[in-house]
Point group: C2
Chain length 385, copies 2
């Protein structure tokens, strides 16, 4: 006699298969399903640079990332709310994860004050003065209409002393609790949104464990591994990922922030990570670097001037289906916008195809075979030159 139409859940993570520490599954949210392991293209200031939203989606992206820092400065959080939120503004109706703004404040702005309340800084665009605290970061992410809101945390240089690292982790946990409280107070789009906590503690197993325990005590929809991919190198990062994801709840998504190179992603998936974001495919696309299964190539290289083959022979993207390396070489050398557009689109397809292959390999229980073959084929530019 018919069936009840049920609304999609606010946030539900289902693991379909595991293979060693790796997992594949789906996060169901109001605005769509996120297949994991997932790669999130970065839509810094309300656009995945150089690619229309429909083409980002066609490449296979289920979710993109928006930067709170960039958007709070331009067009501004309250203005964005008046305009109906980020989704309608940029024409992307699938989930959006927003970061807390903390990382860009440290790396891009002129920081004028940092204390237990939060940070005060000057905009890198016009020098205007702004503050971010756990409460204000969550409020901004609400105003943007974010689907996955990140807790606001404190970052310190990786070269800091253990004492500074420990103090920053402890403050980040106090800020995580304040972030959760601000999130629970509701606001715009509250019925759609989830919130993730961020594990800190640098490369120290004990600090990481203490951080995980504090976050679990607060309780989040998902957990990020923060503070990695900041110059420590792949070996050190993998060393940390050998224990850090296991300290976080197995039944919640684990998100490795700001990662990374294709081989970083493969190794992190093997270690239990479910979500990634990185500017590499988009930024590389604008500087003439294309990702291929045998490693990155720089299309500006003179050897491509009369190469009629596609960027990557195994790729099914529109760029590879239509245009030659010779054409892309020409466009990039001539400084033509279309070169950046087509290279970026290819790179987004490459990353999404890699994620699809990782998901299939986990389902099939052959992740190690896939990962070993990937590593055997994939050479960094320095390895090949």
């Amino acid at each position: 006699m018919g069936h009840l139409m049920t609304e999609p859940p606010r946030f539900a993570f289902a693991i379909h298969a595991t293979d060693g520490a790796a997992r594949t599954g789906e996060i169901a949210m109001r605005r769509g399903v996120i297949r994991t392991p997932a790669f999130m293209p970065v839509g810094t200031v309300g656009t995945v640079k150089g690619v229309k939203p429909a083409d980002v989606r066609a490449a296979g992206a289920d979710i993109i990332l928006g930067n709170t820092y960039h958007l709070m400065l331009r067009p501004g959080a309250e203005r964005m709310a008046r305009l109906g939120g980020l989704h309608g503004f940029m024409g992307w109706d699938h989930p959006i994860l927003t970061d807390s703004g903390g990382y860009q404040v440290m790396s891009l702005s002129d920081l004028t004050k940092r204390d237990e309340n939060g940070v005060t800084f000057k905009s890198h665009i016009d020098g205007s003065r702004h503050t971010l605290s756990p409460e204000r970061s969550i409020e901004i992410q609400r105003l943007l209409g974010s689907d996955i809101v990140m807790a606001f945390d404190e970052l310190v240089p990786t070269t800091s002393t253990p004492e500074v690292q420990a103090a920053a982790m402890a403050r980040s946990m106090r800020w995580a609790k304040r972030s959760r409280g601000a999130f629970d107070a509701g606001g715009a789009h509250a019925e759609n949104a989830a919130i993730f906590g961020i594990q800190q503690g640098a490369l120290d197993r004990t600090l990481r464990g203490d951080s995980a325990a504090a976050l679990i005590d607060i309780g989040f929809d998902g957990y990020a591994v923060g503070g990695l991919a900041v110059g420590e190198g792949q070996e050190a990062m993998f060393g940390c990922l050998d224990f850090a994801p296991g300290q976080l709840p197995a039944d919640k998504p684990r998100y490795l922030m700001g990662v990374g190179k294709p081989d970083d992603i493969v190794g992190a998936v093997e270690r239990g990570i479910d979500m990634f974001d990185c500017v590499l495919p988009t930024r590389s696309g604008r500087t003439g670097q294309a990702f291929t299964r045998t490693g990155p190539i720089n299309i500006r290289n003179a050897k491509f001037a009369e190469d009629t083959g596609p960027l990557d022979p195994g790729c099914a993207c529109p760029t590879c289906a239509t245009w030659s390396r010779a054409y892309l070489h020409h466009l990039v050398r001539a400084g033509e916008m279309l070169g950046a557009m087509l290279m970026t689109e290819h790179n987004l397809y490459f990353y999404q195809a890699l994620m699809a292959d990782l998901r299939s390999a986990i389902i099939a229980g052959r992740l190690k075979t896939f990962a070993d073959a990937f590593r055997s084929d994939y050479k960094s530019q320095s390895e090949r030159e």
Copy 2:
């Protein structure tokens, strides 16, 4: 009992209706039909800047223009031929018209020699030395795989004396004969291509008439009105167009080179012009200017920061269907590539929609009504501010 499939003609112009001096029809060529009056987006260096070929086509373009000067320098004509020609290279399988290179040589390069044979110049990119003559220009256009090849002519400043203008026209007619001869000698894609002559003679009715007679004596597939839209102003240009098109054969397409603003096009169609090209829709798109039925708007203007309406309420383009003025304002202010992409695509649609409206108005015999209404609605930026 079935029917014979006939190959499309090399070049056949059919006029379907006239209205005063205006005409509408079709040019049938091997690579496709060109509906006239036609607007050709400019694909300077092998790309309509910032727009994929499929989107240029979706906007309604039947033909685009390629610049011989830019393409001979980069990637180079012989290289382009080795790569299979411009169509496959850039992924555009409809007709392409190439200019002769003469105009850019005068405006962009460092001209070192000019005599009866042709011109010698230094590249604006790397200072390398090149020559262009009627024979070499036609050869390059052949190597590019052009569908409509333009005769090579000599341009002199509009401020030149009548004697200089007359001498340049006379030389251009000698070069037109050499261009026709080089074209008739065959070469790559000869079976697909047509050749247009270019009428010169500045604003002088007698010189224009002599030029037209010389071109008709040689015989071309179509005839361009050259040497206009170079700073003489709309009134002077229309004054010339009151007689110049009528001096050219009525049964061949007439192409007004480098024109123009929307109101220039409307007035030129009323005076019997069938084809246009101009960088205005693409260049304006990259600088934040959008064309609308009430005139151009600069999307950077602060008044658009929270304007949730489309660029042009009457427009059916993907940009207007999806994004607001507020979003485009944000993108252009933030220097985001996507802003230039979406603005350019809108402008291409605007131009093609205008051409479609002009064709419909001619068919319906109400061109004057349409043109008067257009002029009444369409205000230049200076008229409105």
